[in-house]
Symmetry: none
């Protein structure tokens, strides 16, 4: 399963063509002709998913049921080890005035160079009964992990999502979360004291207070020896969370293909992640997204030479460059195997996939369709 | 949201073209080219909806969950005021023989001129503890409303849906409905006595015994200042039921557009209803339906000039003139906004919409998609 992050796009007004339609994709187009195509709805119609729900759905997990908290996802994104019962929080450095009222929730988007020593100091905060670690992410963002007995994540955020007001106190929403709420507030108080001498980046906001969810195991559920090949930590983290074996790999897609090739005989399912298309889309760089799709296309022959029985090309969500963000648009899907009805149009695009025989399905159905094309599902009923 | 009642159609055998394909619709076609298109399933595949479920679904209410009874809908259709706890029934004048067996469930489709004085007399019936009002509808049809304490609509109908048998006695299906069942039977008995001297239209059948449902408020749920502009009472009644503000308007679509224009700055959602296409379809008049669609098309430039950020063109159901009735056929859908993928075909027709990127969605998803195109939905999950 090749997941092209942010695969779908939207037409540029001057040409009326989307990124996929603009790009020259001879290999994907050739594949589409002999594959079965369609569109996926990542969550529900009209809803724009984050990367977490987008991938969970492709793995077959209903994202409305299996929620990955922002703190956990952020921790996974920087390869922070989390154990059951650990609490992960997404932190912002922010700026408050002399009365403690918020002036800037992101501390002027302070640079990583400036924020790293501050995060390092925050890591020195000590709390009774709870061990904590603070990890820098980027710019004003950090991750706080609380470790200890009796922690539970049912705690409200301290970010009021507004300025001119003080940060909120965290409150426990369940009795079992009292200790966690106390620890969150104690950390925020200690951070305020520690940063008090500064004019900017002199306070913290804590959000997405969450812990590892309980998830059915991907490999057991589908009876697959599954593996993840992904250059970015967050996707490796998600794959690890659902129970895939995460294979060490490099930073480029070529290196991912090396890893796939090397491990190919030892697994019967691979989640292979291609990130650059999404990054270009998020940057609002239409030309770059086209270029990243063309680079992917150039790698398709090598991928096919490795010899998958079934190839799924899917996206976790659309990222139209014209929107510079994720979107709700349905996402192109293509499945190829010996059992494929090669009904496809002549191109792998949003419009052609809309006419494919898969139709429009919810992304949680993709794994079932992949398993069907692999001949791995039994007949239902006599 | 422009709801074109009975929008979808079916091909006339001699031309192979549907009403939308036959009509000359330059404005809707031009819009389709720069809009995103698809098909809606009003309830579930293969099921023909009434106007109630068709509209409820477009407003986002699962019509299988939120049921509007026939009595309530009929009352809304003639602007009868209903309060919580009132019981509304759809009545037929019918003909029974000397032994009280049904000869004609619709009293020979007696004319309104002949039925109105009878309905007026039925209105004089008095029952202990329950106030009642009888309102003429058309031909053999009337509405009965029961008002009083302790009424509940869980009562069986008196129409046996057969002839040669007597009308049924109403029975309470719940203890709380005993008083209502008694009142229904007492009314039917009194009607029989009152009409006994007549050869035809000498009895009544009572159906669709229902009360106002409890519905989530449309405006609160979607955080919209919503308004309804509809010439026909039933659609105003439905809109009022879900919590839209109903704007007074005239009988023509031009007058509806006047109302829309006048109120445009005071609301951020409008349900605008266009009835004539359905009426022509129900009459089995293919040419008339084509003409009504062309008249709608001519009004589209004025509608666009009013300047909606998002325009949804949807139908509550299809009404193919070749069937002279509502049908189960999926209904064309078009959404236009600045964020629209202009993927459309070159025409706004059933066949072109089938290839649109929205694909085929349940009508209850239309509001979500409209809100997405209005930029009113947050991202789901990190």
């Amino acid at each position: 399963m090749l997941v092209v992050d942010g695969l779908g796009g939207a037409p540029r007004p001057d040409t009326g063509k989307s990124e996929l339609e603009t790009a020259c994709l001879p290999n994907l187009d050739r594949l589409a002709k002999v594959s079965t195509c369609g569109l996926t709805t990542p969550v529900v119609t009209g809803v724009t998913p984050g990367s977490g729900p987008g991938h969970m759905a492709l793995f077959g997990y209903d994202p409305l049921k299996y929620h990955i908290g922002r703190g956990v996802l952020e921790a996974l994104g920087i390869d922070v080890p989390l154990d059951k019962g650990n609490i992960a929080l997404r932190g912002n450095l922010c700026t408050v005035d002399s009365e403690g009222l918020l002036i800037d929730r992101r501390a002027g988007r302070i640079s990583t160079a400036e924020s790293q020593p501050l995060v390092k100091r925050l890591n020195e905060i000590e709390l009774p009964e709870v061990a904590l670690s603070v990890y820098p992410v980027q710019d004003y963002r950090f991750v706080l992990v609380l470790r200890g007995d009796g922690l539970q994540s049912d705690v409200t955020e301290t970010d009021p999502q507004d300025i001119g007001v003080p940060p909120l106190k965290a409150s426990a929403l369940a009795h079992a979360a009292l200790k966690t709420a106390e620890a969150v507030n104690a950390f925020a108080d200690a951070a305020r004291d520690m940063l008090r001498h500064r004019d900017t980046a002199n306070m913290v906001l804590l959000r997405g207070i969450s812990e590892l969810p309980s998830l059915p195991d991907f490999s057991n559920t589908y009876k697959l020896q599954s593996a993840c090949v992904a250059a970015y930590p967050m996707y490796r983290g998600l794959a690890n969370l659902v129970g895939m074996q995460v294979l060490p790999t490099g930073a480029t897609f070529d290196q991912e293909l090396d890893t796939l090739e090397d491990g190919f005989s030892e697994h019967d399912f691979f989640f292979l992640h291609y990130k650059p298309a999404d990054t270009a889309g998020e940057d609002g760089d239409f030309e770059a997204k086209v270029a990243r799709l063309e680079e992917l296309d150039a790698a398709i022959p090598r991928l096919m030479d490795i010899g998958p029985d079934v190839l799924v090309v899917a996206g976790d969500h659309s990222t139209p460059a014209v929107m510079s963000s994720h979107s709700w648009h349905p996402v192109p899907l293509m499945i190829h195997s010996e059992l494929t009805i090669g009904e496809g149009g002549t191109e792998f695009t949003e419009r052609q996939c809309a006419t494919g025989s898969i139709g429009r399905i919810t992304a949680t159905s993709v794994m079932m369709l992949a398993l069907a094309h692999a001949g791995k599902l039994s007949k239902f009923g006599p």
